[in-house]
């Protein structure tokens, strides 16, 4: 494959064959080496062949081999002429991350860290097959799908300020439960308020470095401050929505005359009945995920209050921001000097809007969007801020995490004979988990070095480093 280096952080795959646009990937030379055995680059090329794609088929530095689209992929399609692809969003629709700040400092939390980890593990439903304490009636479920986080806050599971600090206010417009199949609705009724398993987690961390004092202050971050990060999504509801529409689009795609290099890229014109139905169902799943993370954060607030004997005012656990990293959104971006309505697919990529964008709301319009980048459970996570560079180059997008470098099988092999929880405990990190192989599969070495990933997006100017967080306690499903 012809991959040309543009500068230290940018590489281009020139148009060839059926590509409608070039590919552009954001990588250091070292990260590119990690991808030599991977099919992610070919997937960037495949996405470039889809109808209506504009600009370039993009991939962020945490990119790796996905199915259909690469993980870390970003692609924008013309709103009138382009397509929407469930595989460009992923099964876990609106999988995302939220970060809350607290008034607690590391020295207050460290002595009670084990008790905190135990309490979080007891109160946050997690693991395969876990169900929450919330049981939705069919009618109430449809309200959740329409209202997202607002549903949770209206029931006392959060505060109004949380909504202003959630992408889209925690409620994607256009949600229509009539577009959702019975199987998804059935699965959704019993899983609200559950974390899930695999790479989903709750992480108590501490701010260990500040790179941009002014932005950190605007975000309410200070050194030694304790934070709480959540990574979860739309659970079985979202998986089923994606699965149902991929199957339906796969059956119908031949009618559009689109030749797919990979059946997982099944798509439908945005303006077709099927495309519109998918977007309406996807919005339901997005709202389900926001409600889910809102409930989970409320449970964390309760646990921290109990463990440290502090009321809400003293704890001051405030949501910094909630970002989704598996989504397709209608946005307006400037292309060749003109505003253009596009459907931006971010699959394992995060919105990173610059200051001035109306979508950011009053809290962040002057400073830029907070971007939450989780790393592996033994190293670090980052808070970034959106930049004008992202608006110009990546449809306002950046990376979403460290990105895997080892397959789960390879990680398990590497962990044999080791006690991962003990290694982490020796580094001051308390871990609680459910799945029999979760810790092995999620071991720190299974992921790229998140610092390398973040250095690329910072160096390329598509987001800027604000702070680094060090994990103290992690709960995994």
């Amino acid at each position: 494959m012809d991959i040309r280096q543009i500068d230290a952080f940018r590489w281009e795959i020139p148009r060839s064959g059926k590509m409608r646009v070039p590919g552009r990937v954001y990588l250091s030379a070292a990260l590119l080496d990690d991808l030599r055995q991977d099919e992610a680059m070919q997937q960037v090329v495949n996405v470039a062949s889809l109808p209506g794609i504009v600009g370039a088929s993009l991939a962020m530095p945490d990119m790796h081999w996905g199915y259909g689209f690469p993980i870390g992929g970003v692609a924008a399609f013309d709103w009138e002429e382009g397509v929407v692809s469930p595989g460009g969003v992923g099964y876990d629709i609106n999988c995302g991350v939220r970060l809350a700040t607290t008034a607690l400092c590391e020295n207050e939390v460290r002595p009670r860290l084990e008790a905190l980890a135990d309490a979080l593990y007891r109160h946050i439903p997690c693991g395969v097959g876990s169900t929450g304490s919330i049981r939705l009636s069919p009618a109430e479920e449809k309200v959740v799908l329409r209202q997202g986080s607002r549903w949770a806050v209206a029931r006392g599971l959060g505060v109004e300020e949380d909504l202003a600090r959630t992408e889209d206010g925690g409620c994607m417009p256009g949600a229509d439960a009539d577009a959702v199949g019975d199987r998804a609705l059935e699965r959704g009724r019993k899983q609200l308020g559950t974390l899930g398993s695999g790479n989903h987690f709750v992480e108590v961390g501490v701010v260990e470095a500040i790179y941009d004092e002014a932005v950190a202050q605007a975000f309410g971050l200070f050194p030694s401050q304790v934070t709480v990060m959540l990574h979860s999504g739309s659970r079985g509801f979202g998986y089923q929505v994606c699965d149902d529409f991929l199957a339906e689009m796969g059956r119908q795609v031949h009618q559009t005359g689109v030749e797919l290099p990979d059946r997982q890229l099944a798509c439908a014109p945005i303006q077709s009945s099927l495309g519109r139905r998918y977007l309406a169902a996807m919005a339901c799943a997005a709202n389900y995920a926001w409600a889910n993370r809102q409930i989970l954060m409320h449970r964390c607030r309760e646990v921290l209050g109990q463990v440290f004997g502090k009321g809400p005012a003293a704890l001051d656990m405030r949501l910094l921001y909630d970002v989704c990293h598996n989504i397709a959104k209608a946005e307006t971006h400037t292309l060749e000097g003109r505003p253009r309505r596009v459907c931006v697919h971010r699959k394992g990529a995060t919105r990173a809007f610059a200051p001035g964008r109306g979508e950011l709301g009053d809290d962040f319009r002057s400073v830029g969007q907070p971007v939450i980048i989780p790393g592996d459970m033994g190293t670090a996570s980052y808070v970034l801020v959106g930049t004008e560079g992202a608006m110009k180059e990546t449809f306002g997008s950046t990376c979403h995490g460290a990105g895997r470098v080892l397959s789960r099988t390879a990680a398990k092999k590497k962990s044999r004979g080791r006690a991962i929880y003990r290694e982490l405990a020796d580094r001051g990190i308390q871990v609680r988990w459910t799945g029999r192989e979760t810790l092995a599969e999620e071991m720190p070495e299974a992921y790229k070095d998140v610092a390398q990933v973040v250095d690329v997006v910072h160096g390329a100017g598509i987001s800027r480093k604000v702070a680094r967080l060090r994990p103290m306690a992690v709960v995994k499903g």
């Binding site: 991977d38 992610a40 790796h64 081999w65 996905g66 199915y67 259909g68 993980i71 992923g90 099964y91 876990d92 693991g127 395969v128 097959g129 876990s130 199987r183 059935e186 699965r187 899930g196 398993s197 695999g198 079985g236 998986y239 089923q240 994606c242 699965d243 991929l246 199957a247 796969g250 059956r251 990979d262 059946r263 997982q264 099944a266 895997r404 470098v405 080892l406 397959s407 789960r408 099988t409 390879a410 459910t434 799945g435 029999r436 192989e437 979760t438 599969e441 499903g477």
Partner: protein, 139 residues
């Protein structure tokens, strides 16, 4: 039955390659392999019986739809398939009787959460040596 499967390493996800002498064995082994990935059981099958009938555009599509259905039974209905009897099988249709357990995290050792059976690189092929299916799961 003469069949076997092996796991395929994939950066973020996982897959399996199943080989068998004939299509009935292939579909049976693929179904049981998926069930084994979902959860391990050591006790005798509870014998909760259900029947499925599915269609596909070709062998590959039929295999994806078959595994999607078994995955839905686990994720959506808490049914872990323990035994499979294929009642009818052709390139575009399968009918099978399944004996299942009710999934109970206290009695079954859950494996990684499998979100979906993908079409990515999905393939059912056959030659003089037998039948092969390759499937990637989204974890």
């Amino acid at each position: 039955m003469n069949a076997a499967y092996r796991l395929i390493a994939h950066t973020a996800d996982a897959g399996m390659q199943v080989t068998a002498a004939d299509p009935r064995s292939l579909f049976t082994e693929a179904g049981l392999a998926l069930a084994g990935l979902l959860a391990a059981a050591t006790h005798p099958c509870e014998g909760r019986v259900c029947q499925v009938a599915l269609e596909g555009a070709d062998w590959t599509d039929l295999m994806v739809n078959w595994l999607r259905e078994l995955l839905y039974l686990f994720n959506g209905r808490e049914r872990l398939v323990r035994e499979i009897v294929i009642l009818h099988l052709e390139a575009r249709r399968i009918e099978a009787r399944l004996a299942c357990d009710h999934f109970d995290p206290c009695r079954h050792a859950a494996g990684p959460e499998i979100k979906a059976v993908t079409y990515h690189q999905a393939r059912v092929s056959h030659d003089t040596a037998g039948w092969t299916a390759r499937i990637i799961f989204d974890l």
